[in-house]
């Protein structure tokens, strides 16, 4: 039997939409994993819950430098506890979130920020994924164009045609469906 070749014409309708959908889903999945890592919050330190919430709000944006994939809010490392205390002391002294973030960056560098600032040295980090996505889409596009140019019409051999004709005339297919 001659199998029909899979070409762009007989791909399922909305193929592109499916591809985009899968890409979107997978990137959302990555975001979710990241968010999950950040939601793991350690035990509170302060007695005042409102102050505690403000400490944790700052701590969740700071990276623990000992265990680098954890936030200062989520880590049980000694340094993370010290830094949470430091945040608390500074909040009590009336410092704003921005001032405290700047204090941390001055001491530990941009690395302590879970969300790195956009600047010339981090452009690759910020734009890289989008460039890769564009590159991927471009490659896909070229691949598909090439494929669609090669074989547009499926040619059936004489044998295929006579077989098909014979089946139609004998109406065997009706019996098979009925079974």
């Amino acid at each position: 039997m001659h199998h029909k070749k899979l070409t762009i014409q007989n791909w399922p309708h909305g193929f592109f939409r499916s591809v985009l959908f899968i890409l979107t889903l997978s990137s959302l999945g990555l975001l979710a994993v990241n968010a999950d890592a950040q939601s793991n919050i350690a035990q509170p330190l302060a007695k005042d819950p409102a102050l505690e919430a403000r400490v944790m709000d700052i701590a969740k944006d700071l990276r623990c430098l000992v265990c680098q994939n954890e936030t200062i809010a989520g880590s049980h490392a000694d340094l993370a506890i010290d830094l949470r205390n430091q945040i608390q002391d500074q909040l009590e002294a009336g410092k704003s979130k921005n001032e405290i973030m700047q204090y941390m960056v001055d001491r530990y560098g941009d690395f302590i920020l879970f969300k790195p600032p956009v600047k010339s040295s981090t452009l690759v980090l910020w734009l890289g994924p989008f460039l890769l996505l564009l590159l991927g889409m471009w490659t896909l596009w070229r691949f598909i164009k090439k494929q669609s140019k090669t074989k547009k019409v499926t040619v059936f051999s004489d044998q295929d045609l006579s077989q098909a004709r014979a089946m139609l005339e004998s109406k065997d297919y009706l019996k098979k469906d009925a079974e």
Binding site: L65, V66, Q68, Q86, V105, R107, Y108, G109, F111, T139
Partner: protein, 171 residues
């Protein structure tokens, strides 16, 4: 066009090899080239206090250590050897330690420091961006931090980075 996957693979390999050689534990210090943060701490087993500004005009090392820190034990013999050369003053920052334990540690293993200052709560450590003990800072005559070594000193780090730097700064 047929070789494209191979080219992409080769590029990936290059990036992975670079990635293998990176040390994510070693974060570049934002302090390099900036003045060493000021502090005033008491000196271990002495009544006097110490401030970094008293070292102005001299090149010195600030070595962060603690008796509970196992990597400090690792670098200790090297530091003792180095201190015997008497190239520069070595001042210890005894980080989040208890005085009796720190004193015992120095008595048992030897004391490479001119003296150590007590940072029991680790506040000065935070000011210096310390996140893993041991850490070693090289501070120049004008009181600026010129180099930071994270983790235990190695003969390689000492000979390749620190010694040439000290010679340059002292000349």
């Amino acid at each position: 066009m047929k070789r494209l996957p191979l080219i992409i693979f080769a590029i990936l390999v290059v990036f992975l090899v670079i990635g293998l050689k990176l040390k994510p534990k070693e974060i570049p210090s934002p302090f390099i080239g900036k003045p060493a943060p000021a502090f005033e701490l008491s000196i271990l087993s002495q009544t006097e206090r110490f401030e970094p500004k008293s070292m102005l005009g001299r090149v010195w090392l600030l070595n962060v250590w603690a008796s509970w820190c196992t990597s400090c034990r690792e670098e200790h013999p090297l530091l003792i050897e180095f201190s015997k050369q008497k190239l520069v003053p070595i001042i210890g920052l005894n980080y989040k330690d208890k005085d009796p334990e720190a004193i015992k540690w120095l008595n048992d293993l030897g004391n490479p420091y001119d003296f150590s200052v007590v940072d029991a709560k680790g506040k000065v450590g935070i000011d210096y961006g310390v996140y893993g003990v041991p850490e070693t800072f090289v501070i120049d005559k004008s009181g600026k931090i010129v180099h930071k070594h994270i983790g235990p000193l190695t003969p390689e780090a000492l000979n390749k980075d620190i010694l040439p730097l000290l010679k340059k700064l002292n000349s």
